[in-house]
């Protein structure tokens, strides 16, 4: 833990700047941004084999005179809600344990609650959508079209919850990373131009590998930036 080097007497400049310095120091010591990013990166990358080998349904119906089809994965319906809820519980427990060891409270609760609520809402919306024959898009899976469809993916749910963490931690670098991440998520993924031989693999992997890699790199970056400073040996 760092300590104050000097204390002012009554100068408002110094009182205010020292209060700011203390506030920033507490925020720095509360943050463990690398942990949720690395955990969520692992979940995202682990979803690739789940999607690939989890079995799929192709459900086509005639809606208003036209055929409307959707593809969804049974395994994804189980994997993402369970994985996200467990991840947010693990993140909250990690933050609490870490900050207690340092003698501080934590700001993780709004993030964990928002993450769980978004995950549950996403699953509910997907189930509702699947039960509605008029709907033509899969809300849970990777194959929905349009902005609402891309927002209603597990990867986007992770990004939306990260916005809450950035706000709670007053963490500007995390906010910038999350905005970049969400921008990447919301860009439509097309498979035109991809050779037939690898199109299937790309269809399964690409939507998860891009956000997973972003989370992984962000997590490594924050782990390096937030690592405790070691005293220089004299």
């Amino acid at each position: 833990m760092e300590t104050m080097t000097s204390w002012p007497a009554g100068d408002p400049y110094l009182l205010l700047s020292n209060a700011r310095e203390l506030a920033h120091r507490v925020r720095r010591e509360q943050r463990a941004t690398w942990f949720p990013l690395l955990l969520l990166a692992a979940l995202t990358l682990a979803s690739v084999p789940v999607v690939r080998y989890g079995g799929h349904h192709l459900d086509c119906r005639a809606v208003a005179g036209a055929m409307s089809c959707r593809v969804y994965s049974d395994a994804e319906f189980v994997y993402w809600p369970v994985a996200l809820v467990l991840a947010y519980v693990a993140i909250a427990a990690f933050y609490l344990r870490r900050s207690r060891a340092r003698g501080l409270g934590t700001r993780v609760r709004p993030y964990a609650i928002a993450g769980i609520v978004i995950a549950v809402a996403l699953t509910g919306a997907a189930l509702l959508e699947l039960s509605d024959p008029a709907a033509g898009q899969n809300l849970l899976g990777l194959h929905a079209a349009g902005l609402p469809g891309r927002l209603a993916t597990p990867e986007a749910a992770i990004g939306l919850a990260l916005l809450v963490l950035a706000r709670a931690e007053r963490n500007r670098p995390l906010l910038l990373l999350t905005i970049g991440y969400l921008a990447a998520i919301l860009v439509p993924v097309t498979f035109a131009g991809i050779p037939d031989g690898i199109r299937s693999a790309a269809w399964y992997a690409l939507p998860a590998v891009v956000p997973g890699t972003m989370l992984l790199l962000g997590g490594v970056g924050f782990a390096l930036a937030q690592r405790p400073l070691r005293p220089v040996a004299s």
């Binding site: 104050m4 100068d11 400049y13 110094l14 506030a23 501080l104």
Partner: protein, 133 residues
């Protein structure tokens, strides 16, 4: 009441250690006694005195408990403490802006009397001079 920001300062809060305690407790939600002691470089006795003043004023709540076999004391801000901290910060900012306005107008007056001013900081108190006796 003159309206000068210095008159609006609360003596309980407008004190370097107690402002530090309130700031840390505000940011941390809850802070342990040992963290405060180490961060503010105080002795346990000195910190206890300041905590007593803040607790008597109703600005903090102190909770004693155990973490395993270790006794721990946790400090948290009350609503009155949150309000007092916000008020202190507001008054400090007002005071600073008032000092800067005074310094700028004094600088202009000196310029008029002595001609062009020498190069240097526009704000008279940037070197850290105290505005309180």
């Amino acid at each position: 009441m003159t309206g000068h920001p210095a008159n609006e300062l609360d003596d309980t809060v407008h004190q370097r250690v107690r402002l530090g305690i309130l700031t840390i407790a505000h940011e941390a939600r809850r802070v342990e006694f040992s963290y405060l002691r180490d961060s503010l470089e105080l002795t346990a006795g000195n910190l206890s005195q300041h905590l007593g003043v803040l607790e008597s004023a109703g600005l903090i709540s102190v909770e004693k408990g155990y973490a395993g076999k270790r006794a721990r004391t946790w400090v948290a801000l009350t609503k009155a403490g949150e309000a007092a901290l916000a008020e202190e910060i507001t008054q400090l900012k007002l005071l600073i802006s008032q000092i800067e306005r005074t310094a700028i107008s004094a600088g202009r007056g000196a310029q008029r009397a002595d001609g062009p001013a020498a190069d240097g900081p526009a704000l008279g108190l940037q070197g850290g001079a105290s505005c309180f006796p």
